[in-house]
């Protein structure tokens, strides 16, 4: 278990510099040399107050120690180290009316939730738009010469070999399920099992996608079923969420 030791002190009037020199440059290190003491830090009282009518704090200095072990073990070790009034554990510049207390944690050490960075799976592949009135689209291209529709977008057409004949073309995020399968293995960052699928978009191209349906419900998915696309985080790698597309049955 972890114990926090809070030591609140004042210097003898007029000997502040001598006191700080002893405490910061000698005393902290002396305590850290005692087995179980793992961290130490000093603080000085700031004159600014949250409430102007609150009473003055009786101590100008605070030292905070982290000790691995129970409070009784802490005081036993501290007592053994200071036994015989070992002079290094006190200073004539310290006011002897000090307050020393041990505290035991009653919660885990909480930290602010980590902020995740988001990264699209690739640049220029989709447009999120306002999901209500303007559903997300995939950014493909269409050939002005042979009308082939492609995703992802190209500049030259692989169907008619037209040079620079492809123009940007938005593809609707709707299509029909071609085939799907529950995969029990996946690359880093995917939670298995998950459903992999090919979807034939209403605009023509076939795209790969994962399906946002519980893998246990995969048998209910049928070839030809109408699916709609959403843009969302599809996997997490360390502190980065990778954003791409996912399809779900249109009815749900």
């Amino acid at each position: 278990m972890r114990t926090i030791l809070l030591e609140e002190t004042n210097s003898v009037p007029g000997r502040d510099d001598e006191y700080n020199d002893w405490y910061s440059n000698q005393h902290l290190a002396d305590l850290l040399a005692i087995p179980g003491f793992e961290a130490a830090q000093r603080f000085v009282l700031n004159p600014e107050k949250r409430f102007t009518d609150s009473p003055d704090h009786p101590y100008r200095y605070v030292a905070l120690y982290e000790f691995e072990g129970s409070p009784s073990l802490l005081f036993e070790r501290l007592g053994a180290a200071t036994f015989g009034a070992n002079p290094i554990f006190s200073s004539p510049a310290m006011d002897q009316r000090l307050s020393v207390n041990a505290f035991t944690p009653i919660t885990d050490k909480l930290t602010r939730p980590q902020t995740l960075r988001a990264r699209p799976v690739g640049e220029g592949l989709f447009e999120e738009r306002d999901a209500e009135d303007y559903p997300p689209v995939l950014l493909g291209s269409k050939c002005v010469q042979c009308e082939e529709v492609l995703f992802p977008a190209l500049i030259d057409c692989p169907a008619c070999l037209g040079f620079e004949t492809m123009r940007p073309h938005r593809l609707e995020g709707r299509g029909a399920l071609v085939s799907c399968v529950v995969s029990e293995r996946g690359p880093s960052g995917f939670t298995v099992p998950y459903i992999q699928a090919y979807v034939r978009l209403v605009d023509g191209p076939v795209v790969f996608t994962t399906i946002g349906v519980d893998p246990n419900d995969a048998p209910s998915l049928e070839a030809g079923e109408e699916l709609v696309m959403s843009i969302e985080a599809i996997r997490r790698l360390n502190d980065t969420e990778i954003v791409g597309w996912k399809f779900r049955p249109a009815a749900s």
Binding site: P152, P158, S179, R185, P187, S188, Q196, P205
Partner: protein, 412 residues
């Protein structure tokens, strides 16, 4: 070495083969695997290594795992003690080994080089982290619209397998029978990953990877291994080794061709082997032979259904007859045209870049009659005299098809 005079188009022979076993060798570096196969090939050919005047190294993922993206060929081959001649690094998914072989054949056929070393080496096994191997292999497919979104090859294979089951009436039992054959053959191959036979029932009941593919129906790719061969012109071949050197009869090499989105079925998935079909049309024509002439075949069986489909794609049987053709025993060792006599990808393991070269090693070993307990024989009791290799790898581009597909035919 001087360039031969006269015609620059020469016959090309394979004069040396060598392997490092396929398996999990976490304690060994890439070059340690490679050097073992390189020197085995040199000793097999019984040549002075100073005869080697060009080398092609197939390796896909050393950059992914170690950060050594470039200079891979001189580093890996150099650490086998060889130096001074051009060393060329190639990659192309599971076909990397075939690409290296293809380039070596061109180099010798051109007359510019006489003795070419081909090495395929891969390290993919990471203890306790199968996902990292999948992530590495996924970089052999198009990332942004595929693997980064969660696509895995085994799931793609599963989806196309289900279509073929509907079309041809194949069953999971067919796939289990194929896997059983591959494992049984691998038991006779000292370089194979698999050392344990499984019954059809055990294979059907094994852990599901993606329906209908259970674990033994999928090749293991988190595997380390290396294979090497030496190819040279026929004139030089006659003066080295034991004099029995299979020659390259024909090579077909293609990549995925764009299929318009306006047709009914624009993206049949990885298990269509459209590219293999085109590659074999070229290879048969160049070899002046047909599927009926083949006496041994090595196919790229990433999953068991891929071997089944290859039977009709290579023309060994008609489309739709794969299952009955297989159940006739024709493709078992001892059958009319044994397929994957050494266990194939399912039994040998699939350290990606090494597989294409290992296929050449097995075919040459069989054609020389040196395959020991797994030696196959023709109806005339000879070792196989005409053998074919099908290999494929990488995926993506607008076609979504196979990046590289190879058909290699060797003759005695």
């Amino acid at each position: 070495m001087e360039i031969s005079s006269g015609s620059v188009v020469t016959d090309v022979a394979v004069v040396g083969v060598g392997m490092h076993p396929f398996g999990q060798f976490h304690e060994k570096s890439l070059w340690m695997l490679a050097r073992k196969s390189i020197w085995a090939a040199i000793h097999d050919a019984a040549i002075d290594p100073r005869l080697i005047d060009v080398a092609y190294l197939a390796n896909n993922y050393s950059g992914f795992f170690t950060g050594q993206h470039d200079a891979v060929a001189p580093i890996v081959i150099g650490r086998a003690g060889l130096s001074g001649f051009p060393m060329i690094h190639v990659k192309g998914g599971g076909a990397s080994g075939s690409i290296a072989f293809h380039e070596a054949v061109i180099a010798v056929k051109s007359g510019l080089y006489r003795m070419a070393l081909v090495v395929g080496v891969e390290k993919l096994y990471v203890p306790g982290d199968p996902a990292i191997s999948i992530t590495a292999i996924n970089s052999s497919g198009e990332l942004t619209v595929g693997t980064e979104l969660g696509l895995t090859y085994m799931a793609d294979f599963s989806m196309s397998t289900k279509r073929l089951m509907d079309r041809y009436g194949w069953s999971a039992t067919d796939f289990a029978l194929i896997a059983e054959k591959s494992r049984a053959n691998a038991m006779l191959n000292p370089y194979a990953l698999v050392h344990q036979p499984l019954s059809v029932e055990e294979i059907l009941k094994a852990r599901m990877i993606a329906f209908p593919l259970t674990r033994p129906m999928c090749c293991a790719a988190a595997v380390d291994g290396a294979a090497a061969v030496l190819v040279c012109d026929a004139e030089l071949a006659a003066r080295v080794g034991n004099g029995h050197h299979p020659q390259v009869a024909g090579i077909g090499f293609v990549s995925g061709q764009y299929i318009s989105n306006r047709i009914e079925d624009p993206r049949p998935g990885m298990l269509a082997l459209n590219e293999s079909s085109r590659a074999f049309a070229l290879a048969y024509e160049r070899a002046g032979a047909g599927p009926e002439d083949l006496e041994l075949v090595q196919v790229h069986d990433s999953v068991a259904p891929e071997e089944l489909l290859s039977y009709s794609v290579l023309g060994l049987c008609a489309p739709g007859e794969e299952s009955s053709f297989f159940r006739s025993g024709a493709t078992r060792n001892g059958g009319r045209v044994p397929v994957n006599s050494d266990g194939g990808l399912l039994g040998r393991g699939h350290p990606i870049s090494a597989s294409g070269v290992a296929q050449v090693v097995e075919v040459v070993t069989q054609m020389r009659g040196q395959a020991g307990h797994r030696q196959v024989r023709t109806k005339d009791s000879t070792p196989p005299r005409l053998a074919a290799i099908q290999n494929a790898g990488a995926q993506g581009g607008p076609s979504g098809g196979t990046g590289v597909s190879a058909a290699i035919i060797l003759k005695s």
